[in-house]
């Protein structure tokens, strides 16, 4: 439970009255280079008052991150620059400030935390030293004073064993801990403005929950104005005081949390909000069809390389058993490191399972190799997470789609006909065949990947986080497509996801994994509404915005 998110909330009168700490006025950012001028941002205006949590939401390409970088004066100098407008930080226009002045302002007036806590920290420097750098740049404190202050700050972000953390390198910390370090760094000088650019997107839900709580807590404590950039309406519903919706470099709508979530004025906002999948599973009848895929005690152990026979081994999956019926979508959910992807990769035999059986219509493919394996490959196909890396950029879409068919001896013209059909099935026109992947959007590419996977008429389709990289609006469409395909051809789907909302929407059955083991399995309705295990319960509770019914624009 975070803050008072469960109840619609008016912004406190105190923040209404105070002067904004950050005012963005008619900001435009353009691409550096020859004319014609291409604008990335245009006509951006909004402001934040002290103690306020302003969420900027938008899909990819909306310009929300560029806005934040412009505030910090961190636009990449060779490629982007502000062309018009003002950015006032406590009344001072940072666009007119000198580099030296900008450096002064950073970390003292405005600070920033980033999406990827791993890459945001210098990997070769101790985290304590990295926080220390802020103090060394901006204060005249002695070494001991600085250290004391840092330890205090680490304590304030609820780090255990702060002395040890001080002397740790980033890679020795967990993702959540790293983000706490980044937060310490940003807030140690109590800046007036904190810009948080998707700070929880790379984190697991349970960690996300903690970090959101922490940001809230510190904000309260120091009355910081937070500019929170996110694409996740769940998070928005949890924390926002006010919301700025952006699309294609422009502000679509600004309003209070309730205004936007409950009474969106713009169709775009409406579409966006209603696309957020519901956590409430759809009721489905239990299937009695044949079992297509049957995993029995599947285990995968990575052998650590050791000298003189001494080595550590890591069990990525241990004794995983599950089955998928014809026409069924079985979801495997879990946080990172739960082993869900390992299971998926073993099923398509991109990895060799250490033990156990993978029965496809009763045939065990777990141990097949070489020429035995090849015919079995056509029965199990996979769709990956990243649509941008799943298609060979150098090949035409048509060639990618027919690759499997050609491999299994089909004539090229027949294969091309089939490919056209398949592209139609996934909602793309036939002229897509002649084009290259980069000419398509992420969602379209994912459709192509699905068409490619279906080309071989597989018995099982494995979708490994297949919609996770997509914007919510696109995500909804792809999920719909998968469901339609299942209906039409009755394929069995093994659906890997970390997102309970997605799982709730599409899965008949849900398998929860943790630390390589199956924690709980059952129908989607059972698992999500009446979880038997604490872990499952914790996962559900951590899901942001679960108290809001986005489809119906109302709290639950």
């Amino acid at each position: 439970m975070i803050g008072s998110a469960s109840h619609p909330r008016k912004p406190g009168p105190s923040s209404e009255l105070r002067a904004p700490v950050l005012e963005i006025d008619n900001l435009a950012v353009q691409v550096v280079g020859e004319p014609p001028v291409r604008h990335i941002l245009e006509d951006i205006s909004f402001n934040i008052r002290p103690g306020e949590m302003l969420c900027v939401v938008g899909e990819s390409g909306s310009g929300k991150s560029v806005t934040s970088l412009a505030v910090m004066g961190l636009l990449p100098p060779g490629s982007l620059r502000t062309s018009t407008g003002r950015i006032l930080v406590e009344g001072e226009d940072v666009l007119k400030a000198s580099q030296a002045r900008l450096r002064e302002l950073r970390a003292t007036r405005m600070a920033m935390i980033f999406q990827e806590p791993m890459t945001a920290l210098n990997p070769v420097e101790k985290v304590g030293e990295q926080i220390d750098e802020v103090l060394r740049i901006h204060t005249k404190l002695s070494r001991a004073e600085r250290r004391a202050k840092i330890l205090e700050m680490l304590d304030a972000v609820h780090m255990p064993d702060v002395e040890r953390i001080y002397d740790s390198y980033p890679h020795q910390l967990s993702g959540g801990q790293r983000q706490r370090v980044v937060i310490s760094m940003a807030l140690i000088l109590e800046p007036k403005i904190l810009i948080a650019d998707e700070p929880t997107t790379a984190l697991d839900v349970t960690t996300q929950k903690q970090i959101l709580a922490l940001i809230r807590e510190l904000q309260k404590k120091h009355n910081t104005a937070v500019l929170f950039i996110t694409h996740d309406f769940g998070v928005v519903a949890e924390i926002a005081d006010r919301i700025v919706v952006m699309n294609k470099g422009r502000v679509v709508e600004v309003g209070s949390r309730d205004d936007i979530l409950a009474y969106p004025r713009e169709p775009y906002t409406r579409m966006l909000v209603s696309s957020v999948p519901s956590l409430v599973p759809k009721q489905r009848a239990a299937l009695k069809s044949d079992i297509v895929l049957d995993l029995k005690e599947l285990s995968k152990t990575y052998a650590g390389r050791g000298f003189f026979g001494r080595g550590r081994s890591i069990a990525a999956a241990q004794g995983v058993s599950l089955s998928v019926r014809k026409g069924e979508i079985v979801g495997i959910v879990g946080e990172s490191g739960s082993g869900k992807s390992t299971v998926a990769r073993c099923v398509v035999r991109l990895q060799d399972p250490t033990s156990g059986n993978i029965l496809v219509h009763g045939d065990d493919i777990a141990k097949a190799t070489g020429s035995q394996l090849r015919p079995m490959r056509r029965r199990v196909q996979i769709v990956f997470q990243d649509p941008y890396r799943s298609l060979n950029p150098r090949r035409r879409v048509g060639d990618s789609v027919i690759e499997g068919l050609i491999n299994f001896g089909q004539r090229r013209d027949e294969a091309l006909n089939r490919a056209r059909e398949l592209l139609g099935l996934v909602g793309l026109s036939a002229d897509a065949m002649e084009r290259y992947p980069h000419q398509f959007s992420g969602g379209q590419r994912q459709r192509i990947c699905i068409a490619r996977a279906l080309a071989l008429d597989p018995d099982i389709l494995v979708a490994d986080e297949a919609v996770s990289a997509l914007d919510v609006s696109v995500q909804a469409q792809v999920l719909k497509l998968l469901d339609e395909i299942r209906e039409r051809i009755g394929i069995a789907v093994l659906f890997i996801t970390h997102d309970l909302r997605v799982a709730a929407q599409i899965c008949d059955t849900i398998v929860v994994m943790q630390h390589g083991r199956v924690v709980e399995a059952g129908s989607a309705a059972e698992v999500l509404t009446a979880p038997r295990q604490d872990y499952t319960r914790a996962l559900i509770e951590a899901a942001p915005g679960r108290d809001w019914d986005f489809q119906n624009f109302r709290p639950l």
Binding site: G78, F114, E116, T119, A120, N122, P123, I137, M185, F308
Partner: protein, 313 residues
Amino acid sequence: MLPYIARRLLATVPVMVMVAVVVFAILRLTPGDPAAIIAGDDATAEQLDKIRQTMGLDKPIYLQLVQWLARLMQGDLGVSLLSGTPVLSMIGDRMGPSLALALGTIVVTVIIAIPLGIIAAWRQGKLLDRAIMTLSVLGFSVPTFVVGYLLIYSLSIKLGWFPVQGYKPLSEGFWPFAQRLVLPVLALSGVYVALIARITRSSIIEVMGEDFIRTARSKGATERVVLMRHALRNAAVPIVTIIGIGIASLISGVVVTESVFNLPGLGRLVVEAVLARDYPVIQGLILLFSFIYILINLLVDLLYPVFDPRIRY
């Protein structure tokens, strides 16, 4: 760490054996007859036969190989066919100049190249960057011997600052030692300065695109701090790798430099031995070189954790 070193060293044994056998084979396939070289160019066939017999060169090649390996196991590298001097002592004699030249070159290279690379990365795309990069390509485009002659002509003959040739061991005092090393080291450094300045520049530029650089800037760090404290150390691993490769490939440059400046080092020894088909000397040297090569690779790998705490053995 120790098991790692042990394993690495153990893994070098097959490589060294392979190198030794291949070199043995190459040598015996190469036309050239040490006997003819010993006897001079108007010896008769009968005289040559006798000499070959005395030196055991008439035996089948595999037998010679086995004998050589057997003696190697006892730490005996044999004696020079020509002078009869033990190979080990020849190598020992010649070690000093080469080592001094190599170490000097590494130090000078690092001192010159890394700052140049940093400056070029800092001024990326600007005039200074282009000037440095153009110079570095020029450094890569002039053969070492030409650089050597230029240095001798200008700094020794015309200005008289340095002797034109020779080597004095450190035991004869630092100045005579250093004075004779300056020009060879400068001549040899040219190529490596060019190489390492380039890699430093590109590594730093690559690191400058990382997220944590943005973090550092958002802390209010100056560009100097960003560059020196954050970028350089993260760029260290590729730089160290290239320096390692550079050292390992130093031997060809050393041969030329030692010739131009008349340094009595290993580079010259290897060429002399090859030209004279002094098999035991060549074999011993190759063994030494491959060992040094392997050792440098190991050292470079062991250095990685110093620069990057994520790497551990």
